[in-house]
Amino acid sequence: MTAVETAPAAGRRRRGSRAELSDRSRAERRLGLILSAPAVLVMLIVTAYPLVNALYLSLFRYRITAPDDREFVGLANYGTALTDSLFWQDVLTTFLITFVTVAVELVIGFALAMVMHRALVARRTVRTAILLPYGIVTVISAFAWRYAFDLQSGFVNSWFGLGDYAWFAGRWSSLFVIVLSEIWKTTPFVSLLLLAGLAQVPRDLGEAATVDGATAWQRLRRVTIPNMKAAILVAVLFRTLDAWRIFDNVFVMTSGQNQTETLSFLTYRQTITRTAIGLGDAVGVLLFLSVVLIAVVFIRGFRVDLSQVKGEK
């Protein structure tokens, strides 16, 4: 009750700088907060505890298998990770994988979204066929690609007449296969998000542009893409965050050999394989911070766009 009374007062105070919110939208906002509170609470319990625990443990020199040697070292583990060439090599590998997959997926995903959007016949079949790879478990798809490129069981070499070229013996050829399988697997996800964006573009805008004599390319660049900017950014954000944490493909195909190790694989090896909990958690926290950084950068970009959309209305 008090909240209802004080809310308009707060609105009045802010009147000078921002447009006044109506009582109704204020009530809606409060309802929204109340409705999402339980979910936020659960998330805090299941993610905040492990996170804080990891932060705490990252300040120790600590191995599960040598519990008595535990020692507080402050931020030394972060110093070790950040000055280690292996860490930066893995950052570079992760960045390359992320950059290439997201860029390629965006282009192919857009083309597929157009196909799904425009398909006149067998619409359902077309959509199902395009979305199929996304329904396959990543580990299974990783094994399928590994066996396809394998020297003994693979068919790729015989298809392209490559003889006994060992794909997983070199850094770039391994990364090529990893990126390829990642693109195959997640492009449908991007195209699905873009399809939703395409559906939001008002049809009459395109028609008006056609009447004005715009070519197909001009319509795409000046009408369609600007109108689905939000959907594109959502797709890029989700995929970037996903790709940045890539693990399964690398684990199955190369186990990080030949400099194909990614950041999450490095974390896994330090914590799980070496049981160096302190150092591993430090790397894990750094990975988490980089994810937060990516998200913040993107969401800031969003805000600008979202307000633009509102302003147009």
Binding site: T65, A66, D69, L86, I272, L279
Partner: protein, 445 residues
């Protein structure tokens, strides 16, 4: 086998007799049998034994010992992943979570110290320890002991031999079985005859086995005072380490090196020995069985087994006997199991009894951990080199016994791989620095 079965039945009967008179005791017996029934599901308590993959030899032993227990327990086996590193990973993960479902586990010797130090294994009290170490090879006992206590029961013991083609040795004019045969002589002989020296040069545990055997044979060690854990003395930068590096680098840069040396494992080395450039190879004892089997099934020419010679692991310097690698499996008892002080101990006793070691050796080809087995006529017939294996294991040097073994091995592999990049002047020293950094969390591995 029969002997231990008899013993078990006798103790079981004694137990029952003690609980015999009086209604209270009878009630207790009823209660106890009820509890046992709850634990075992089918009435008989089940012990779960995590085994390394071995084509079913350990599963057979489990069945035999279950039968011999006269219904006191049943051993069921669960197979661990293929390679030793992944086996360790799974066991550590389960035991760190205090998994009570692990009663017995087959451990690679190098990981006993780590598991013992972490409190994952139930130590054997001194009065029990004796029966597990009596007549057992010293390296196996050393590897099963941590901080003065026995934490695992030696089950089988492996070592590497020098395998060679007799025709090649003859052509080169060398006798690998002669006492003073060295790595230098072997590499030179292979170069002279246009053949190869097969070793394990892939970036994996097998490469560490080779490096450790070379350092030990040169009279040094990779780590000294290993019981100090992460403050152990790193000695790989010593003259012995440099001698080892000289041999690795000489072989890797010579014509006697395998074309795929940097990715060669045990099987690849054996493949090389059977090929047209096959000459010499260091490898584990399984080679004999594998070669005979392959010749019988026509995978390799039938003439190869009769041309196959074997000798003690080559020396680093002529005047100093070699210290062959040591491997095998030790049986540990999980610290969180329900039967860790009772049935699990009995089961391990049965599994590691001398007759069962012999049975397992014949079944799987893996050498027994007790020297007496090698005098058995059946073993001598099945393994013509049984005496050599026994003497080699007796002289074998374990890899560093430290709770940080995985880190030490990984750090050495990281700096010594690929073999052709090894520089005797710098590699040993650099690897020593790196091991120290990794042990103190000053570098990522």
């Amino acid at each position: 086998m029969v002997e231990s079965a008899g013993r078990n039945r006798r103790t079981a009967r004694a137990g029952r007799r003690r609980a015999g008179p009086g209604p209270v005791a009878a009630a207790l017996v009823l209660l106890a049998s009820g509890l046992v029934a709850c634990g075992g599901g089918g009435g008989v308590p089940t012990l779960s034994w995590y085994v390394n993959p071995d084509d079913g030899g350990q599963a057979k032993l489990a069945t035999a010992c279950s039968k011999a227990s006269g219904g006191r327990y049943k051993i069921s086996t669960s197979v661990l992943p293929q390679d030793a590193t992944q086996q360790r990973e799974q066991l550590v993960r389960r035991l760190a979570a205090k998994d009570s479902g692990i009663d017995i586990m087959s451990l690679d010797p190098v990981f006993v110290a780590e598991a013992a130090n972490a409190g994952f294994l139930r130590p054997f009290p001194a009065n029990q320890a004796k029966q597990f170490t009596e007549g057992v090879f010293p390296a196996a006992v050393e590897n099963s002991t941590w901080d003065g206590r026995l934490y695992a029961a030696p089950f089988w013991a492996g070592t590497q031999l020098l395998w060679y083609r007799k025709s090649v040795a003859k052509k080169a004019g060398v006798d690998p079985a002669a006492p003073g045969f060295t790595w230098d002589q072997m590499i030179d002989a292979a170069v002279r005859t246009g053949t190869t020296v097969g070793v394990q040069g892939n970036k994996y545990e097998g490469y560490m086995v080779w490096i450790n055997a070379l350092v030990e044979s040169a009279g040094g060690q990779i780590i000294g005072a290993a019981q100090k854990g992460d403050d152990a003395a790193i000695e790989i930068g010593s003259p012995a380490g440099r001698q080892a590096a000289t041999i690795v680098s000489k072989l890797a840069r010579s014509k006697a090196a395998s074309p795929s040396l940097s990715t060669d494992d045990e099987e690849r080395a054996r493949f090389l020995l059977n090929g047209s450039r096959g000459g010499f190879m260091v490898n584990w004892g399984y080679v004999w069985r594998a070669e005979k089997g392959d010749a019988e099934s026509g995978v390799i020419p039938k003439t190869i087994p009769s041309d196959l010679g074997w000798a003690r692991y080559p020396r680093v310097s002529a005047g100093q006997p070699s210290k062959p690698p040591f491997g095998g499996i030790e049986l540990g008892i999980g610290a969180y199991g329900k039967y860790k002080n009772t049935l699990a101990v009995d089961a391990v006793k049965c599994l590691t009894s001398t007759p069962n070691m012999k049975r397992y050796m014949i079944d799987s080809g893996n050498p027994a951990a007790r020297a007496v087995v090698y005098d058995d006529p059946e073993i001598k017939k099945e393994f013509p080199m049984a005496g050599l294996i026994r003497d080699s294991i007796n002289a074998a040097a374990p890899r560093p016994i430290t709770p940080y073994y995985g880190d030490v091995s990984g750090a050495v592999q990281s700096r010594w791989h690929p073999p052709a990049s090894v520089d005797p002047a710098t590699t040993p020293g650099r690897s020593a620095t790196f091991i120290r950094q990794v042990l103190h969390d000053q570098a990522l591995l």
